[in-house]
């Protein structure tokens, strides 16, 4: 079973104050730390688990600059066999352009399954995976929480709203977007990442993919990025923990709950 995983490096923004950049088109990135996109980490683990069970190769692909190779080495350390970085240059990308670039890169590779994360933690768009599937004419499913391959097919679970899953049978080759919680991603040691440097990492330039200018033109344009509008929000309770606790208990009782 040959599997391709499409992954992305994103800024870590939990418990971080974000600032809008001078052009108001994005976030100030200089002070941010970068990590593997959470959803993609689960996709890598799922690919490696399937490979351990059914054999075949796992190829990790990302679009980005040299710094982004960090997540490819991470994927290689987790068990992927080879990796590809696509260098976009100075080009502005959106989900549409990314899906075109990935489709062109993947078209001639051999695979049974392509896995992506449901979405990336930065844009939260959740579109590249399914666009890529349509470009390649593959079967597809979004928000997948289980994969069991059988001959020519896979039995998959898709997470719906309200505590409900849908089980279905899908023809391979297929593209599935992976939801968090599908597995427990393995720990990656610094030693493991160092060893992974011996594995294959190919760099391709977008220019060399002979995509048309139309394919490389964004369909969506960011006009302005701004901080959430000020609203009243919560009444903040200040003070030391014991006085705060006293006030919380009082509120709970006022609302008619006995403790």
């Amino acid at each position: 079973m040959n599997i391709i995983i499409c992954i992305k490096r994103v800024p870590l923004t939990q418990e971080v104050d974000l600032e809008v950049d001078e052009l108001k088109k994005g976030v100030k990135k200089d002070a941010l730390a970068y990590v593997i996109n959470d959803w993609d980490n689960y996709a890598i683990e799922e690919a490696v688990l399937l490979q351990e069970k059914f054999g075949g190769t796992v190829t990790a692909i990302t679009i980005g600059d040299e710094d982004d190779e960090e997540i490819l080495r991470r994927a290689l350390a987790m068990g992927a066999d080879k990796s590809i970085r696509i260098e976009p240059g100075e080009r502005e990308l959106d989900g549409f352009v990314i899906s075109k670039i990935l489709a062109k890169t993947i078209r001639d590779l051999e695979y049974d399954l392509i896995l992506t994360g449901v979405q990336a933690d930065d844009d939260n768009a959740a579109m590249v995976g399914i666009m890529l599937a349509e470009e390649l004419g593959l079967s597809h499913a979004a928000v997948v929480t289980g994969i069991e391959p059988e001959e020519g097919n896979a039995i998959i679970r898709v997470e719906l709203e309200g505590g409900m899953d849908e089980v279905s049978k899908i023809k391979l080759p297929s593209l599935l977007t992976i939801q968090t919680g599908i597995n427990e991603p393995r720990y990656v040691s610094i030693m493991g990442i160092r060893k992974a440097r011996k594995k294959e990492l190919v760099v391709i330039k977008v220019e060399d993919l002979s995509l048309s200018e139309d394919d490389l033109t964004r369909r969506t344009i960011i006009e302005e990025v701004f901080l959430p509008p000020e609203i009243e929000g919560a009444e903040m309770i200040e003070g030391d923990p014991s006085s705060v606790a006293g006030q919380i208990i009082q509120i709970i009782k006022e609302k008619g709950v006995s403790i």
Binding site: S139, G162, E166, V167, V225, S258
Partner: protein, 325 residues
């Protein structure tokens, strides 16, 4: 004058709320730009959806066939592609839901129309749509326009547009259509629905919920919050990351993919407030949030907030409760 399409979402014989939210917003857009509002129904036979929809739209185009009873992106995208090709609606709205996430991006490639997902506002400026989205999990907003095109696709965040109870009624014309012949054989086949929310406790019935999120940090720390919940006679619930890490079973989960809850008081410990979580607590009487990140989105929706270390507050609560009883 053009058209706005709204793709009707349904499951297990019921129209999903997101459908009415989209129809409500689409009606508003139609009024300002004199478009015609068309609901597109792909459903099974005899589900009775058409009657429920008639008052919300100018027209309902209905395909009723048992092959459409359960959502299947393969069949749906083929029908919608040909419908959009034939009508060229100015705007097509779908839900940013498990359906929409599987359908809309594929449809964008098929039709060649630009797509913006998970939108919380939609306006029209100079004959083109302009949408607002949240990025970085709601920490920033982004205003997005489109490359010029004959039509545009937008997926709408559930809960972003809430219709009032007294929505203005129209008498939509119903146009029933047969499935086109020669549909491609679908590559996906439905097997069953599985309920993942059932379990040992029912968080939807609790009066007081003590809920934990990613901020709890380590699995070992859950015991200390569980202890607090027990002391208070509260039920323990959680947000998605806690279930993803297998620290608590799924039946504890509050949010879009878990349960919607309606306690008198909801105590949120270390929950950042992703919209998927917040959607599950709209029925809560009072929300008290404890999070050390003063900018956490949860403080935008909570009634009371404490910007402090959750364990310090939990410990103080324990001594306070012990003192009371």
């Amino acid at each position: 004058m053009g058209e706005i399409f709204v793709v009707v979402e349904h499951r297990k014989g019921e129209i999903r709320e997101i459908t009415f939210e989209m129809l409500f917003k689409a009606r508003e857009l139609c009024q300002t730009s004199s478009h015609k509002l068309t609901a597109i129904l792909l459903g099974g036979r005899d589900e009775g959806f058409v009657d429920d929809l008639a008052k919300w739209a100018d027209r309902i185009i209905a395909f009723e066939d048992d092959r459409l009873k359960i959502f299947n992106a393969d069949i749906y995208k083929e029908i919608l592609d040909s419908l959009i090709g034939g009508h060229t609606p100015f705007l097509t709205l779908m839900g940013h839901t498990s359906w929409g996430m599987d359908l809309a991006p594929a449809l964008a490639i098929r039709t060649g129309f630009p797509l913006a997902t998970d939108c919380v506002d939609i306006q029209t400026e100079d004959g083109r749509p302009m949408v607002t989205r949240q990025i970085y999990s709601g920490k920033l907003f982004s205003k997005v326009s489109f490359k010029e095109s004959p039509g545009y696709l937008v997926t709408v965040r559930p809960g972003a547009f809430l219709p009032p109870d007294d929505v203005e009624e129209s008498q939509g014309e119903v146009v029933r259509q047969e499935l086109p012949s020669g549909l491609t054989e679908p590559k996906k086949e439905f097997i069953e629905f599985v309920d993942t929310g059932a379990g040992a406790i029912d968080i939807t019935q609790a009066e007081l919920l003590v809920s934990i999120g990613r901020g709890v940090g380590e699995e070992e720390n859950i015991a200390t919050i569980k202890e607090l919940a027990d002391l208070m006679g509260a039920t323990l619930s959680c947000s998605r990351p806690v279930v993803d890490k297998n620290w608590l079973p799924k039946f504890h989960q509050v949010g879009t993919s878990g349960k919607s809850v309606k306690p008198k008081v909801y105590l949120a410990f270390g929950i950042s407030g992703a919209f998927q979580h917040v959607a599950g607590i709209t029925g809560a009487g009072t929300v008290i949030a404890i999070n050390k990140d003063r900018k956490a989105p949860i403080f935008r929706v909570a009634d009371y907030g404490i910007a402090d270390d959750l364990f310090k507050v939990a410990d103080a609560l324990k001594s306070e409760v012990t003192k009371v009883s």
